[in-house]
């Protein structure tokens, strides 16, 4: 599914923010990525979602060596990844419905084909009454749920989420983790970057911890 080999990353002429990172995610796995602020979590996520190329090392995604894969293939690889950004990145001029439907539009599906799926998913995350609301009129937690619904609506092969429960209450957080678990059970590989220890303990999933740009721990849960 995803493999990093001795990956290093620096921005411009700055210091390396990731150093010799090596790991792999198996298809259908569920992993938490932890680390203090500035440890390199966001940079690692950006490499995984093809937002930046690594400075050195090899990344293999869905069987493609990214160093040798032609750029024209990247859009199709990106469409197989669902991303929950920490700052949500919703389009303010579109309704909650249109924001969630965006990945399906990009995949070429017609509005008539996905209306029911999008409405059902928004209902599942508790926003069934706010289909037509624009993001600026929603609370932080509601915006986060729209962002999560957008990330999972196309049933991605890989789901990457950066602090997905940071702005929601415990009950909604529990529902979202159940949603990720359900998606994982259906075959999606899930990676969640979080500071929430209770989430990690409850999740009984693999944990990768970053310290100063290095992957220092890979904890596999006891079955």
């Amino acid at each position: 599914m995803l493999r990093f080999e001795n990956v290093g990353m620096r921005y411009g002429a700055g210091p390396e923010v990731l150093r010799d990172v090596t790991f792999s995610l198996e298809g259908g796995s569920f992993t938490f990525l932890t680390g203090a602020s500035g440890a390199g979590k966001t940079t690692l996520l950006r490499l995984m979602i093809l937002a930046n190329p690594p400075t050195r090392g090899l990344i293999t995604l869905f069987g493609h060596d990214l160093a040798t894969t032609t750029r024209s293939v990247f859009p199709s690889l990106r469409r197989r990844i669902g991303v929950v950004f920490q700052d949500f990145r919703l389009l303010d001029h579109l309704s909650a419905f249109d924001n969630v439907a965006l990945p399906l539009r990009l995949a070429g599906r017609r509005p008539g084909d996905y209306t029911h799926d999008v409405e059902e998913l928004l209902g599942w995350v508790g926003l069934g009454e706010k289909l037509n609301s624009r993001p600026p009129t929603l609370s932080g937690g509601e915006q986060q749920r729209v962002a999560i619904a957008r990330a999972v609506v196309a049933r991605p092969d890989l789901l990457v989420a950066d602090e997905p429960t940071g702005n929601v209450d415990a009950e909604i957080g529990e529902r979202l983790i159940r949603l990720f678990g359900e998606l994982n059970r259906l075959g999606t590989t899930v990676l969640i970057a979080t500071h929430d220890r209770s989430l990690i303990e409850r999740g009984r999933a693999r944990e990768m911890r970053l310290v100063d740009g290095r992957l220092v721990e890979l904890r596999v849960p006891r079955s």
Binding site: R79, P103, P111, T115
Partner: protein, 298 residues
Amino acid sequence: MMGSRPGRILPREAGAAPLEVVIAVMAFLAALALGASLVADRAAQGWRAGLSGRLTVQVLPPQHGAAEPSLTNETNAALSLLQKTSGVVEARALSQPEIEKLVEPWLGAGTVIGDLPLPRMIDVTLQPGAKIDLPALSQELIRAAPDSVLDDHSRWIVRLRTLADALVWCAYGILALIAIATASAVAFATRAGLEAHHDIVALLHQMGAHSGFIARAFEWHYLVSALAAGAVGGVCAMGLFMAAGGLEWAGIEPVPFLPPLGLHPSELAWLIAVPIGAGLIAWATARISVLAALRRIY
């Protein structure tokens, strides 16, 4: 239940008005240039049609002696010769009022013209395609009427053709400059739009949108804006040409010595090409600009 029409990928831009004003002004100027080229072309054709297939014989007043008997005798002799010449359909001496009317724009109306020794004029109409040996005819005319001069208008036709061609090419040059200016303005606006919507473009790119999908959002936006603005400019120019035509219809000559500035309905239809051209330029420029910008993103 949601409507089946998905929302626009790009928000409507409140800041797009200046670009639309620029395109409307460019379209207005382009329509004026196009209309001017059509007027010049029509005038040149009219002039050529009026002069070709015709000859003019001038019988000049003699340098010595009484003018009137000499002019009358030589004019009659020239008319007699011309009417017998093969290929001539008609040879007609212009009356004195007709001759005075011809020189009136330069000398003005009044009694002074009657006192001047004006030459006699013979208007000759030729058979279409008639091949006449003009140097030989000129020699024969001089023998019959020593003070006559034959003018086949070829000098004027060449000059008018050159003038009309120059006007038409000037108009094309102006059109090309306007097209370049419009393309530059749209390219600048597209780059500003990309900058303003960088977050949206980056998000769509991250979600796996093809460059063509993102470019389409921009090119449609600018195509519609340019079509609307171009239509406004084109309609304003059309109104101006129709007003000029209305003045001529009312018998008011807008500019003396210039050909009629009003456009015929078939010529007005050409002005529809202006907003279409503006739209195509905006569409192509936006597409090229967006694709070039997206190529620089990983």
